[in-house]
Symmetry: C2
Subunit: 198 residues, 2 copies
DNA sequence: GCTCACATGTAATCCGTTACATGATTCT
DNA sequence: AGAATCATGTAACGGATTACATGTGAGC
């Protein structure tokens, strides 16, 4: 049975105490979402695979007449997770797939004022992400820290700090571009005649 | 004709002066690779789609008897690229798909010494990425800066700085874990005598 | 009573990578 | 002479998202 990274996401979440597929999805949304997301359509078949492999126990755990399957990790599952943690990630082609960075990369195709607008947008988004991590993700990670799981909090802090770093970087870039724009304004408006420009 | 992010990658690279499919792939390997990679199997069909849409010109440009197709961007292509640059990225589920961060997230499943080893690995990888960006990517970006394309260099510097930031962060985390390990060593070995430590 | 959250799945589709297939040129 | 690079494509596969399909429980 071949396990992929997304299998270990599900298995790891079971280990952290998320017992239903639905709960696993919810947990990823508030914790690993930024660097590794998943969907219910992946979680359910994956849980089935993991169970077939003997990495989880499964039992009916209905809530009233609403069916629910409760999974827990087995010792085989723990060992499989540890083996994966010890293994090196084959560094795939991309690390970040970030469409916004690609936009910045090609931003020279825009006139200066619009370059500035683009950077402002990226700045705002990085700030939003930072804030979301600080107000939502870090508290959620702290909540599970008591149970001996320290690293979700570690990762949340790293994420927030990284977004903060990027936001600050965008802020400086924004200032640079603003200067460039105003210098251009002066030289265009100044000697003798003004030119209208959109 | 619906264009996807990878279409704009190809179109943008044509705009930056990469004229053959092969050249486009090479250009992405040295510039956008970390945040947006592609493969030849994507580039060639994409170039065909872009040309059908009227966003490029295409002409035979053989080198000896080795065939080569030379693409250049058209004004329609420029406008399509600008429209995409102005549009907001639908913030997809994941921003970074990073298996290593996921490993750190679940690292509590390992004994302390192995947690430390994992973080050391992540630290080293971040340093390697930083160094690669500084020695390979930034110089390559500087080389095209003269032609009025400033932002590839901007992005390269942002990338290098971000990896540096993360490497420093991992370094501190490493130090913390090392302390935790040695504290545990002491309490296990006995209060009173020191243990050899590298 | 209505809406939202909880809960589980399948089907269709899209997108990207890997592998395959072929050949010329340049460098060592 | 052989290896690495330049050059263009197609086929197969795998993995992830979106849409579809259905139903219960809790809160307002």
């Amino acid at each position: 049975m071949k396990l992929r990274p997304s299998s270990y996401l599900v298995l790891g979440m079971v280990r952290l105490g998320a017992r239903s597929g639905y709960a696993i999805k919810k947990a990823t949304d508030i914790s690993t979402r930024v660097f590794f997301s998943t969907s219910l359509a992946q979680v359910y078949p994956e849980l089935d695979r993991l169970h077939t492999a003997g990495f989880t126990t499964r039992q009916d755990d209905p809530h009233g007449r609403r069916s629910r399957l409760a999974y827990t990790i087995t010792e085989e599952g723990e060992e499989a997770l540890r083996a994966w943690l010890r293994s090196a990630a084959r560094s795939g082609p991309t690390l970040f797939r970030d469409e916004n960075l690609m936009r910045l990369f090609f931003a020279d195709a825009l006139p200066p004022e619009e370059q500035l607008m683009l950077v402002q947008r990226l700045h705002q988004q990085a700030r939003d992400a930072q804030q979301w991590m600080e107000t939502e993700v870090i508290p959620a990670a702290q909540a599970i820290e008591s149970r001996g799981h320290h690293h979700p909090h570690t990762v949340a802090r790293l994420g927030a700090a990284t977004y903060r770093f990027m936001a600050d970087w965008y802020e400086r870039l924004e200032a640079e571009l603003r200067q460039k724009c105003s210098r251009q304004d002066e030289s265009e408006t100044q000697p003798g005649h003004a030119r209208s420009q959109d």
